[in-house]
């Protein structure tokens, strides 16, 4: 069902975990639907310096979470906002059709984390 790249990210996910005092946190999905992704970012000079994730979900959910963290690390926040769920799926070499809708929300989680960061910094300024 899944290709080798997806399986690699599933079995050896990059950037799993949590950080202390993240600059932004994004969470999408819903346990009722079978998917929850939670992303934390550390921001420096308007760039994503570090990123960690935790995901409850199927193979696609975990692999896309892992993939997106690799993709956005080092990008500017604006660049990271341009990364789409579709781009994540493509970077993984494609997902099974039935997985394109559910289980592919990882980019959304990043966007939420960036928005969270921006809203907090907006407030503190």
């Amino acid at each position: 069902m899944y290709n080798d790249k997806v399986m690699d990210h599933f079995f050896n996910p990059r950037n799993v975990g949590e950080m202390e005092n993240p600059d932004g946190v994004g969470q999408v999905g819903n346990p009722v639907c079978g998917d929850v992704m939670r992303v934390q970012i550390r921001v420096k000079d308007n760039r994503i310096e570090d990123v960690k994730f935790k995901t409850f979900g199927c193979g696609a959910a975990i692999a896309t979470s892992s993939m997106v963290t690799e993709m956005v690390k080092g990008l500017t926040l604006d660049e990271a906002m341009e990364v789409s769920n579709k781009a994540v799926a493509e970077a993984l070499g494609g997902l099974p059709p039935q997985k394109m809708h559910c289980s592919n929300l990882a980019a959304d989680a990043i966007h939420e984390a960036i928005k969270d960061y921006r809203s907090k910094t907006a407030v503190s300024h």
Binding site: F11, V25, G34, G59
Partner: protein, 408 residues
Amino acid sequence: MTSDYNHPARRVYLDNSSTTPVRAEVLSVMLPFFAQAFGNASSIHRWGKEARVGVETAREKVAYLLGAEPSEIVFTSGGTEADNLALRSTARLLKSKGNHIITTAVEHHAVLHTCQSLEKEGFEVTYLPVDEYGMVGVESVAGAIRPGTILISVIHGQNEVGTIQPIEEIGRLAKEKGILLHTDAVQSAGKVPLKVRDLNVDLLSISSHKLYGPKGIGALYVRKSVKIAPQITGGAHERGRRAGTENVAGIVGFGEACYLAERELPEESLRLTSLRDRLIKGILDKIPDTVLNGHPSRRLPHNVNVSIKYVEGESILLNLDLMGIGASSGSACTSGSLEPSHVLLAMGLPHEVAHGSLRMTLGRMNTAEDIDYVLEVLPPIVSRLREMSAFSSLRDSRACEEGHGNVQ
């Protein structure tokens, strides 16, 4: 935890409710029917006569498993077709008597979707609820009967959670009320005694590939006094009840599988029960936040179904597969839809717990060592997934969650 996919430490197939391998004894009786006694069983020459003997001997063996008469067995292409034939044929033939059908919320899709399609044709269907164990109450069946009820269809051994329904009692009730009773016994056949006279059923579905026979063949038991119309029309095969050239090799294999299953049932069912209970206990003991789904005792001897909280079923399956273990889940991701198993939901499980269900169904090749291997491999898989699960962190850290309110 690394493992070479192609060389796992052990291969343990625990998905025997999904399908089973064909037994060597079964394959060997099938082989002559592919290229030697290959005739069409309806032909009058020697090739045809040999095939006919194969078919009728097999019919006797299937009848033996069910305590039925051979003429009461109609071969179909599998359990799904048997369920379809039972429901559609009855519904159409009895339309003049009424249009109400009673079934349960925990039927296999072969019954459930057929009932839904009959609703579109104008039939009314009552889907009875079940208790937390997936059990339907006889009183609830009784309460649903009304003038115009023409058919009751209740699964015998539930395929996901293993709960065995009180078919004998429902059968007595149906008989008393003069209503036809169908049961889907696909999962029970060969696992628990299944004599149609004891069960008081009029129609009963079974499938070959669930009991070590080949795929693509099944049967509907039709009580002698019950008339059915064919759903697949054409030649006069199966006494006009199912058209199409008989799948002779498949039928022969199915017959042998039924015969062997019946002969070995008493011993094998005890053996499976003890393996089952060892596996259930091991999981509940070793992995926190797990619950058994289905009835603890009125349960198919080969069924284990647990919900493992805070992890999602497919993730577990992929990890088990890497380690050489084949299992299944009622999670949405493996059900081919966005919803988790309708059975687990009908039993009242919250969605998130249903997503984390794991079904392991034992078979004749499984040993105590297999169980021990699973109990060694599964706990670290679960820990690892839980560690990376955003859902378990929700549990541990409700407070912090509130700070970042992005849950959709």
